[in-house]
Amino acid sequence: MERLHVLICAGTGCTSSRSLEIVKKLEEVLPAYHLENEVKIVKTGCFGLCQKGPIMAIYPDKIFYSHVTVDDVDEIVKEHFYKGRPVTRLELTDIDEKTKEKIFDIDQIKFYSKQKRIALRNCGVINPEDIYEYIAKDGYQALGKALTEMTPQEVIDEILKSGLRGRGGGGFPTGRKWQFARNSESDEKYVICNADEGDPGAFMDRSILEGDPHAVLEAMAIAGYAIGAQTGYVYIRAEYPIAVERLKIAISQAKELGLLGNDIFGSGFNFDIEIRLGAGAFVCGEETALIASIEGKRGMPVPRPPFPAVRGVWGKPTIINNVETFANVAQIIYNGADWFTQIGTEGSKGTKVFALGGNVTNTGLVEVPMGTTLREVIYEIGGGCPNHKNFKAVQTGGPSGGCLTEESLDEPIDFDNLVRLGSMMGSGGMIVLDEDSCMVDVARFYMDFIVDESCGKCTPCRVGTKRLLELLNKICAGEGTLETLDELESLSNHIKETALCGLGQTAPNPVLSTMKMFRNEYIAHVLDKRCPAGVCKALLKYTIDPDKCKKCSLCTKQCPVGAISGQVGKTPFVIDPDKCIRCGACMASCRFGAIIRK
């Protein structure tokens, strides 16, 4: 008889920190205590706190263990499962600010208490490979309600009323998109789920598919009913093998129970879903390129209109929605639009999932109501910058977005407000940068990505972004002038106006945004030939502080190019700037902090 459920994250993050070996070890150890029938192991999706993974949750005790290793398994089984004494040293805790006491209750731990989970509600809670666990969580009730109690138009009206906006980056009202597709006359229509997720640092969609694939399938079927489609495609990159596998399992389980297929709920409605693998090109996340890719053509965009809702895949009316957008749909139909509109801000209803990364203590996956401030996400949930470093900026919107500074930290997050402040929501990547980040280098990083990912169809994007990258390289190498900055700005604006698709049109954003917010840093690079953050190698200067130098010669031995000279025990050592290759080996070797980098 089952007495304990042990939930272990089997998402990509925790799997790479060996969570599956922990499962194996548990399966070995449990029988030794005759607990194999009392303790059930459940492999789940992401718990969100990836930084502290692998995470293990024990119910009904509601105890969460973090950083669990294979070596901890014996102790956990013996002490906790057998004797009932939780292993305190592994427990996930927080410190109460007032009393300075440890908090064990998971609902009061700040990382979770500020969150509201709608799209992620089942992630880390159910076994994504078991359709019955999804059904236990009211899964497929919304589809049943839509098919048996609502007309297609009523479904669309409910989504319209909910105010749901696309989570893939654009924020377009989902209900309106569905209405266009419904109004298009055609013998065939299609529903596509965009699971390409190409933004560097983003893993929201992957986590949803790994943790709760049925939520997306159910929503796609609802969308099919609403617009009059019988076929759905999930377009997902092959680099997401765990998500692909779980999707396959989910589709076959749903078919087996008749939740996909013909005459679902006896309503006469038929719907099937197929998976289409992408090769992981950023541009294939753009909807027209994605459609081309599904049709077996090169993933290149075409100008819109016509919009996919009028002429999409195979020339038929098609709706394309993001994974997270879909993950909200069944919840809205099941709980009603009025429930959804209570959450969020005036223009942005519901929640948003962010992949929190960069220089932040709690990297991971968080879902917060729209209107939560950046400070709450970065400091209260994220725990701020590690190692007592100062916050410098937060990058949102990935390669299409921008950077926001300290000044914006108390601003509420929603679609319109982030644009007003000079960045954008994007798909949910949120990268925190501390004082050691060089903003020119950050702009260069994104441009480097864009140059790799540009499909090459239109000249502004193919050639223009390459030129932008060259200009940025010039600045980082100390060869830029004030004119370089002007050139950078005017070329950026040209590309924005002339590129064919969203990729090129938004590619200059990281440049323009960092130039606006951190102009002084660009000026320092071109006028003073200095990188204030100490990142751009060519602009760094290593010197030795003669007062601190103990004349030990350790640095000389480490220097690969013989740039350091001096006499042991007699004179302080010096670095020849012409020979120095700025590798930093001397600095790492000095025990007295005598080497200065500026």
């Binding site: 304990l4 009932g84 059904i135 236990a136 008749g258 006896g266």
Partner: protein, 120 residues
């Protein structure tokens, strides 16, 4: 899947399998002391008896365990918490007594005074 009623039936069955994770909605929470002395005194039998009783009658009750409860001479000890968090402590339990506690306390809401710590 032929109707919404079919799905609701499946849901009902499925919920029983994951109920354990829905902490907070239970009518009672049974906590069995499972320190070394508790186990030696037969706490595992007591734990299993509660599990069986609760499962047999599909009660909305969570059965869990804790370490040593501190009074080794009174083991096996069991705390039962109600929705308001009020605690009743039963002492020197065995399978026979558990069956009675399940029937009286968990099913009918009547404390079995004669087995509680107050009657010592």
């Amino acid at each position: 899947m032929k109707s919404l009623a079919d799905l609701q039936k499946i849901r009902e069955q499925a919920q029983k399998r994951v109920n354990m994770r829905e902490v907070g909605n239970e009518d009672y929470r049974v906590v069995v002391g499972m320190g070394t002395c508790g186990i030696a005194a037969g706490a595992r039998v007591v734990l299993n008896a509660f599990m069986e009783g609760v499962n047999h009658d599909h009660l909305n009750v969570i059965v869990t365990q804790t370490g040593c409860m501190g009074s080794c001479t009174l083991e096996p000890m069991v705390d039962i918490y109600d929705k308001e968090g009020r605690k009743t402590t039963y002492i020197k339990m065995d399978a026979e007594k558990v069956a009675q506690v399940v029937e009286s306390h968990l099913k009918n809401g009547r404390t079995l005074e004669m087995y509680t710590v107050n009657q010592r």
